[in-house]
Symmetry: C2
Subunit: 251 residues, 2 copies
DNA sequence: CGCAGAATTGATACATCTCAAGCTGGGTGG
DNA sequence: CCACCCAGCTTGAGATGTATCAATTCTGCG
């Protein structure tokens, strides 16, 4: 707690030019003069792992991009059942122009840095800056595709396929980030707890644990500790995920 | 088949001004001069119930709005498992600007009339007409919300809750369409077969059938034939769906 | 009439959940 | 420095919800 407030008081100030998500975020298409205007209304906020960014139903007077770290969007039923409905990665956008309360709980999974804009000025700027709304449309369409792929997973895949799919997705993103020579040997860290995976996959954490153990036993994945995963044969993992061959890594 | 081709040869010609989806579709915000230009590049197509509009992966050189009828967006796995990932109602938009193959199978559930635009001219028009892309962004954000609500259903709801949710959604939309005085007595037609419901809900058709029978037995719904449903107490249905009280009908 | 597609119902199998116990590793305080 | 503690995780045994396979029934239609 105290640590978090220290961090968020110590506001980062960064040039958009140096920003790690400059070419992927909602501002990706902006020209220099547009960036300059964004720069005037932006501010950074940081959140510790586990911290809640905003609760569903709360007033939300800003929109934001994830700069670093991972956050989750979750929905909760009255009796406590929870479903993660989105995973926010660097460059992903939070908030909906034209709505002023949050529709979902947003939680920092790892430490997170966000680039925020007050909603009002941002909306005004959107009207004057088609490049922003065009980019936002593109990103929203991508998210919709991702949500629909997730619907197939939730509705029709077995527990084993769900786990394999999740690991494949994380592996892909990891490979994308550090654009290093592939090889057939991918190693990375799972950023999610078993419980968060369960929330994402529509399973219980026990089932998640059992299926990870099973994939390990079958040599589909190797585990170093609880979180570090190595994939000896990516194609085999994809097969276990029930997806057709490529899935977008190559294309 | 022959009936379909007769219909689709006999192209409807309609003024945008009289269009039933004029104020809800992607063109909702357009001014008269913009409508005039759209009118030049639009054409109508019709599909019979059961007909496939387009297959996933096919080249798609148009975008379209559903004018009347209902269509489905489905994803299929290699072994035949299917998940519906979207239900296209009048005014909903089909196709993604900037992509030229279909991502999903689109199937007409009832007879459908679509208002089509060739993709190229439409995309050019989008660039010049912010009102169109703004409206499309808004619609896409709504669809994303719907998809996320569906993720909660698929991941966390029981079979009974799933059925109750689906019936509630159809009832709400029906009530919206014919804006008649509510009363507590809603009656409408289920446009989906048991199998289509199963595809939507991530269930088997047998489970769908059993749960509908159970809801009927418990007096949550009344059935006239297989398809016509009456809801004696909407709040009770909502309770069965596991949603919190309102869900948007009132708000 | 009788057929075909749609729906219902039954019996059984099986995947996942639930409840419960125990393990592991890293941090903390005595 | 050790013992303890606790969150995160694993594993087991049994319960349960849904799928599967199979047999009828319903309904509209040629």
């Amino acid at each position: 707690m105290s640590k978090a407030s220290i961090i968020s008081d110590n506001l980062v100030s960064q040039e958009c030019g140096d920003c790690p998500i400059r070419h992927r975020a909602v501002c990706a298409r902006c020209e220099q003069d547009e960036l300059d205007r964004l720069e005037e209304i932006k501010y950074y906020r940081t959140f510790e792992a586990g911290q809640t960014v905003i609760w569903s139903g709360d007033r939300m007077d800003f929109v934001a991009s994830v700069v670093t770290g991972i956050a989750s969007l979750t929905q909760t039923m009255e009796d406590g059942r929870r479903q993660m409905v989105g995973l926010l990665l660097p460059s992903d956008f939070i908030g909906r122009p034209g709505r002023n309360t949050a529709a979902y709980d947003v939680t920092a999974i790892t430490d997170v840095v966000m680039c925020c804009f007050r909603k009002k000025p941002f909306e005004e700027m959107m009207l004057r800056t088609p490049r922003i709304s065009q980019r936002l449309l593109e990103m929203t369409l991508d998210e919709l595709d991702a949500a629909r792929e997730w619907m197939l997973l939730l509705g029709r895949k077995t527990a084993r396929e769900k786990i394999a799919s999740l690991i494949a997705i994380i592996a892909r993103r990891d490979a994308e980030l550090r654009l290093r020579s592939a090889g057939n040997d991918l190693t990375f860290e799972l950023p999610l707890t078993r419980e968060a995976m369960a929330d994402y996959l529509g399973l219980t954490l026990e089932t998640v644990s059992r299926q990870i153990s099973a994939l390990k036993r079958d040599g589909i994945i190797l585990l170093e500790g609880k979180r570090q995963v190595t994939i000896p044969d990516f194609d085999r993992l994809i097969e276990e995920a029930g997806d057709d061959a490529d899935g977008g890594l190559l294309s």
